[in-house]
C-alpha cells in the first residue's frame, strides 16, 4: 500500500457503525484501536491528536487534557469482512455494544477489528479449533478484554455454553464443507431471533468440482433450511477469488 508513516489523512465515519475511513492519497478502511499504542499483526495505524476537550470539564479543573486516539488500518486482502465492507455490503449486523460469535477466528487478525467495532461495551466470542492459531488468538485477547477466545470445535457448540451468551450476530469463516450446518448449530443455541448471520464461503472448500455460483446457491439453500433468511450475497472480488459473503437474518421457528 502506498500510504507512508508521517502522512496526513482526514478521518471520517464510514456508513457502517463503528467503522471509519481515513482519506489521503488513498482511502483506507480503519477501526478505532481499543488498545492504543499497539498493532496486532504489523498493520499501519493512524494517530489523532484530540484538542483539549471543553465538554469534559471536570469539577471546575478546566478542560480535560489533550489526548490521542488511534485507529488501525484494516486490509481487505487479509480480512473477508473488510473486503465485504469495501464491496458495499448492506449490513454487517455488528456495531458498538454488539455481541458477536466469530467462528473460525484463526490467529485473530480479523477478530481484532471486530473487537474494535463492538468496542468496550461489546463482546466477541472467538472460536478456533486449531491449537496453533489458538495460541495467537489467546495472546491477542490478553490486550483486548472484550474478546473471549475459545479453542474448541465449532461443531460442538454445547462445549462452550458456559462461556457464550446470546449474541446479536454470528460471523463464520471456518472454510469447511459443512459450514452451513456448523452455523445452524450455533445459531439455534446462541443467536437471538432477528440476529444477523454473515458467512464467508470459499467455493472450492465446499466443492472443488462444481461452479462457484452453483456452490453459493446450494449454501444459501442450506442456510434457509437452518431458518436463516438470506438477505444478500456478494462476491469478494477483487480481494479474494471465488469467494462470496452471504448475509441473512435468523428467524423464529414455525
Amino acid at each position: 500500500m502506498g500510504a507512508k508513516g508521517g502522512q496526513k489523512v482526514i478521518l471520517e465515519p464510514h456508513r457502517h457503525k463503528g467503522v471509519f475511513v481515513a482519506r489521503g492519497k488513498e482511502d483506507l478502511l480503519v477501526t478505532k484501536n481499543i488498545s492504543p499504542g499497539e498493532s496486532v499483526y504489523g498493520e499501519k495505524r493512524i494517530s489523532v491528536q484530540n484538542s483539549e476537550n471543553p465538554k469534559e470539564e471536570i469539577n471546575g479543573d478546566g478542560p480535560a487534557p489533550a489526548t490521542t486516539t488511534e485507529y488501525r488500518v484494516w486490509n481487505p486482502f487479509r480480512s473477508k469482512l473488510a473486503a465485504a465492507i469495501l464491496g458495499g455490503v448492506e449490513d454487517i449486523y455488528m456495531k458498538p455494544g454488539a455481541k458477536v460469535l466469530y467462528l473460525g477466528a484463526a490467529s485473530g487478525t480479523s477478530v481484532s477489528h471486530v473487537a474494535d467495532i463492538v468496542g468496550p461495551t461489546g463482546v466477541v466470542y472467538a472460536v478456533e479449533f486449531s491449537h496453533r492459531s489458538g495460541r495467537d488468538l489467546i495472546n491477542m485477547a490478553t490486550r483486548r478484554t472484550n474478546v473471549i477466545p475459545i479453542v474448541e470445535d465449532a461443531r460442538h457448540p454445547l462445549r462452550y455454553r458456559m462461556l457464550v451468551g446470546m449474541v446479536d450476530c454470528i460471523f463464520a469463516d471456518v472454510a469447511q464443507p459443512d459450514q452451513a450446518r456448523i452455523v445452524g448449530l450455533n445459531a439455534h443455541l446462541y443467536l437471538k431471533v432477528g440476529g444477523g448471520v454473515v458467512v464467508s464461503i470459499k467455493a472450492n472448500c465446499i466443492d472443488s468440482t462444481a461452479a462457484p455460483e452453483a456452490v453459493f446457491a446450494r449454501e444459501v439453500q442450506k442456510m434457509r433450511e437452518e431458518r436463516i433468511k438470506p438477505k444478500e450475497q456478494l462476491t469478494l472480488e477483487p480481494f479474494e477469488r471465488d469467494h462470496a459473503v452471504v448475509c441473512g437474518v435468523y428467524q423464529r421457528s414455525g
Binding site: 500500500m1 502506498g2 500510504a3 507512508k4 508513516g5 508521517g6 502522512q7 496526513k8 489523512v9 482526514i10 478521518l11 471520517e12 465515519p13 457503525k17 463503528g18 471509519f20 481515513a22 482519506r23 489521503g24 492519497k25 488513498e26 478505532k32 498493532s39 504489523g42 498493520e43 499501519k44 495505524r45 493512524i46 494517530s47 489523532v48 484530540n50 484538542s51 465538554k55 486516539t69 485507529y71 456495531k95 458498538p96 455494544g97 468496542g119
Partner: protein, 237 residues
C-alpha cells in the same frame, strides 16, 4: 294426628281466659312483674360479663431497654447529644460542597454533546474543526485524481461539502515498514496540501501539466490565430 273434639277446644279457651285476662291484673302488679323481669335480665348479663373478663388476660408489658433520649437534662439545662443526632458520614457529606443536577440543564447538555460528536455509534468522533487548513486539505482531496496518474479513484463529487464529523490524523507505519513506508521526520509536513506542494517542488509535474493543458486549450484562439498569420505573412515575402 287426631282432630280435636269441640269439647276439648272449649276447655282450653276457658283456661286462657282465666289466666291472661288483663282485667284481672292491677297496674301495680304489672309494674312489679316488669321490674322483676328487669332485675333477672340484669343478673344474667353481669354474670356473663364476669365470665368473659376472667377469660381475657392482659399480659404484662415488658419494653426491654428503653432507647436513650437524644436530649438529656442536666439540672435546668437540656443537652442534645450531637453525635447521635447525625452519623459522621452524613455530617461529612453535608459539610462538602454539593452539586445540584438540574434535569433540564442535564438534558440540554446531552443534546449539545450529541450534536458535538458523531455519537456512540462512532465512538463520539468530534465535530469537524473547519480551520482554513482543513478546508484546503479537503478541497485538494476532492481533486486528488489529478495528483497521481497511476492511481484510479472513484469519481468524486466536486460539490461535496466537508463531512460534519472528522479529524486530521497522522499515519504510523506498520511494524516492518520503518525503511519501506515511512517519511523521514525532517520531511514531514503539517497538512495534506503541504505534502503535495513538497512533492510538486521536486517533480514539477503539476506545472508541466498546466503548461501542456494551456497549450492545447489556447489553440484556435486569438493568440494562436495571430501567431499563425504572422507565420504566413513571413512566407509571402
Amino acid at each position: 294426628m287426631a282432630v280435636p273434639t269441640q269439647q276439648s277446644v272449649g276447655l282450653h279457651a276457658h283456661d286462657a281466659d282465666t289466666f291472661y285476662d288483663s282485667d284481672d291484673l292491677s297496674d301495680e302488679q304489672i309494674q312489679t312483674l316488669l321490674q322483676e323481669a328487669e332485675t333477672r335480665i340484669r343478673e344474667k348479663q353481669t354474670a356473663a360479663e364476669n365470665h368473659s373478663a376472667a377469660a381475657i388476660r392482659i399480659p404484662k408489658l415488658k419494653a426491654g431497654e428503653l432507647a436513650k433520649p437524644y436530649v438529656t437534662k442536666n439540672g435546668e439545662v437540656a443537652i442534645a447529644d450531637q453525635t447521635r443526632l447525625l452519623d459522621n458520614e452524613q455530617r461529612l457529606l453535608s459539610n462538602k460542597p454539593r452539586r445540584v443536577e438540574d434535569p433540564v440543564v442535564v438534558q440540554q447538555k446531552k443534546i449539545a454533546e450529541k450534536k458535538a460528536t458523531a455519537g456512540a455509534d462512532w465512538f463520539n468522533l468530534p465535530k469537524t474543526e473547519l480551520t482554513p487548513e482543513f478546508k484546503r486539505d479537503f478541497q485538494l482531496m476532492k481533486m486528488r485524481a489529478a495528483l497521481d496518474p497511476h492511481r484510479h479513484y472513484k469519481k468524486e463529487n466536486a460539490k461535496a461539502v466537508p463531512p460534519p464529523f472528522a479529524q486530521v490524523g497522522t499515519i504510523i507505519e506498520g511494524s516492518t515498514e520503518y525503511f519501506s513506508a515511512r517519511v523521514h521526520n525532517k520531511d514531514r509536513k503539517r497538512t495534506f496540501v503541504d505534502e503535495v506542494l513538497a512533492s510538486e517542488n521536486s517533480t514539477g509535474r503539476l506545472k508541466r501539466k498546466y503548461a501542456e493543458i494551456q497549450a492545447t486549450k489556447t489553440s484556435g484562439k486569438k493568440a494562436h490565430y495571430k501567431a499563425l498569420m504572422a507565420k504566413r505573412q513571413k512566407k509571402k515575402w
